[in-house]
Symmetry: C2
Subunit: 449 residues, 2 copies
């Protein structure tokens, strides 16, 4: 391809990975990042949720040869580890024996990706540079330095907006493009980061290779492992109502709530009350918009194009997949940027809409259904059937998480069909006794026809 000068707004996960893909195709990349360099300054806001890197994400990393680098900081989680209120626990595998999603710290993977980006000859990252405006006509990015307040302008052949859920690049398009479809929707729950520190000598105080869930119906806590032996915990709870952040406004109320709801976790959380009071309560947004490409020159990607809630663990994976799709299109239509960009948005819009909706649905699954024996049984039936007839049935979770060859939009459609079949199966009399019977198998086969 003929080399283009490309500006990327945002050196987050997707912006950094995208720069590597583009530089490998010979382009000159300048990234403008609003925040300071996180590798030099600690800019943690106490609001991180650990990421769950899975197959679509790996594919994105493999495409530029950096999967092994990232594997070093990832901890595989082979299933959900459920903590019931009565102290019982249960392990629910995510997929087949060796299939796992991988806990990685957002900061760690982002720093690694920045390092790798800067190792490319043609990638330069500028920090503390806030994008204030992008002029569509002249392809000029206007920037203001956070500290010096110095304003600069940067012209380029193409611009990618990879600046996240509250993207300045997207707002620019909302304000300066006619007929821009846009919605932002907040779920009624917020979240708060908490921590389970390591035991002596960095020992994990719970099962290391699992994603821990305390499902409580209308809310839940989760915990994901980190390499140094601690767990990043996240409480997801409604902002308002009987059990809500609004009610947890004193240490006493927090203590009572946790002792009642998460009795097995409390002894593992020595800094719980201070963390709860000090860490912010953050909101959870879904952003949908269209188009993503303006004047065939300015393109939204990652959360800037499609911010989703975290409950399917697919936000980063979906953003990395954006990069893969774009790269495939660059290979297929070299130099034909009109086709590359218009096909990119045309392909990715239905898939990102699908994963957005799946992610909303998975909140209910995680916080409520994982504690439900019927749901657990359904998963067992599906797993058994899928193992026997792998070409006929791939469980929805596996399609989304372990099957990058299946589009999100296809997975959503298949999932709806599967659920209809499983609803009829779960309604059979005595299903708990005959779940692994020939009869059930035959009924599923019949409905698949």
């Amino acid at each position: 391809m003929s080399a283009k000068n490309i500006n990327i707004i945002g050196a987050g996960l997707v912006g950094s990975l995208l720069s590597i893909y583009l530089s490998k195709r010979g382009h000159n990349i300048t990234i403008y990042e609003r925040r300071p360099d996180m590798r030099k300054a600690n800019i943690s806001a106490g609001k991180s949720i650990n990421l769950a890197l899975s197959d679509r994400g790996w594919r994105g990393l493999e495409g530029v040869g950096i999967a092994n680098e990232i594997k070093k900081i990832a901890i595989p989680m082979y299933g959900r580890f459920i903590h019931n209120k009565n102290g019982n626990t249960q392990f629910q595998p995510y997929g087949k024996k060796d299939q796992a999603i991988n806990s990685v710290s957002r900061a760690e993977i982002n720093m690694k990706l920045m390092d790798l980006a800067e190792q490319q000859a043609k990638v330069k990252i500028y920090f503390n540079e806030r994008c204030t405006h992008i002029d569509k006509a002249t392809l000029t990015t206007y920037l203001e330095h956070n500290e010096t307040k110095k304003t600069t302008q940067s012209q380029s052949h193409l611009v990618f907006g990879a600046d996240g859920a509250f993207a300045a690049s997207r707002l620019n398009m909302q304000l300066h493009s006619d007929r821009f479809e846009y919605s932002q929707h907040y779920i009624s729950a917020g979240y708060k980061e908490l921590i389970i520190p390591p035991g002596e000598n960095g020992k994990f105080l719970m099962e290391k290779n699992a994603l821990h869930i305390w499902p409580r119906g209308s809310f839940m806590m989760i915990a994901l492992p980190n390499p140094d032996g601690n767990f990043t915990c996240t409480l997801f709870l409604p902002f308002e109502g009987e059990k809500s952040f609004a009610k947890l406004n004193t240490k006493e109320a927090v203590k009572q709530f946790f002792e009642e709801e998460f009795p097995d976790a409390v002894p593992l959380m020595p800094t719980l009350l201070d963390d709860f009071m000090n860490n912010p309560t953050s909101s959870l947004v879904t952003v949908k918009c269209y188009p993503w490409v303006f004047e065939n020159k300015i393109t939204l990607i990652g959360d800037a194009a499609h911010a989703i809630v975290p409950f399917y663990g697919q936000g980063m994976n979906c953003g990395f997949e954006d990069c893969v799709v774009l790269d495939e299109l660059m290979a297929k239509h070299p130099n034909d940027w009109d086709t590359i960009l218009s096909t990119y948005q045309h392909l990715r819009k239905p898939d990102s809409d699908a994963i957005a909706d799946l992610a909303i649905g998975n909140f209910v699954e995680m916080r409520d259904k994982t504690a439900d024996p019927t749901f657990v049984l359904q998963k067992k039936i599906e797993a058994r059937f899928s193992e026997k007839y792998p070409d006929k049935w791939l469980p929805l979770y596996s399609m989304v998480t372990f099957s990058p060859q299946v589009r999100y939009s296809t997975a959503l459609k298949e999932g709806v069909k599967q659920q209809a079949i499983m609803d009829s199966i779960m309604a059979l009399p005595h299903i708990t006794q005959k779940w692994d019977s020939e009869e059930v198998e035959q009924l599923m086969l019949a409905q698949l026809k």
Copy 2:
């Protein structure tokens, strides 16, 4: 009530009327309007759609004693006047014999409302003042003069954002409030203003007291009368596709299209081709958001809170009803602004959502169904039944248009029920022969139970 200093952003229809309501309750009002004073400068952009003032709007005007002033510039339209492609025409009454919606020019009614607002002792309007920011903490409105670029600040006790579908006041809230629900959706059709001028001596060249429609399935033209004998015409047409604005890019194409689709109108439109080329093609947006009230001090109203498409003729009427509801709450809870404003948004949100959805639905009705004999028959059956059993059946259009005592949200719900009943009635064999029979009447009565 104890007098408050209140800033209103926008001197449009709703901002101007609101100022009169608030000043009559003793408050001191300052309106900041982005545009120049339309009474002094002609700021027509060639993109107006005539308004259809109906009972909810009249109620808003009567509440401050200015209905008679406005009646002087309004032309009653008693029904739809349908122009078929083959030259046939048909009159479809909107309601009972004397019920009408009223054609008024947006500019005329706006200027009249500004005059009336300025006649209040306590209302002051500043023009050319663009709101750049509203500080929630200090209730300071930041303004910039369009010509001098001079910036000013204005503190007040309360602020109302009445600055329309693309409100700066709302954007301010979108950017500076967490958990702000927001969506903007454009329909695939756009519109263009055209004109049918008067004949000799200001003669109306079509029926004066009707809303003219040329329904053509996927698109339509409408025409509303003005006092000087002309008609403001609006072509609603998809932006893209076989029959679309994209295709009408030469005078020849426009001429051919109009001659084929609107043969009876073409002779009445001597400036058609120039108007078509000179007037802009505008888009049609629905905006939904929530909350409308911030810190109990900054409140969105009218299109700024709920922009809707024009097909039910309810945009202005809904905004005026906002003012009426607010005024009733001021009467009921004097000085208790927390209650007034929180009840206002709580009451009005479901109603504005309902009329937004009804307005989208009415595009299909106007452009497509008004040409359908089955639809016309259904309206006749409903009208007959409603006349006989007025306490059992009020047609949806009448609820929305002529019944301010029925909430939009109630009308929508009732309308869905009515449509289900009418679907079953219209599916009866030989309904065209027995539509006015005892049998049909009894079936409807039975289904209403």
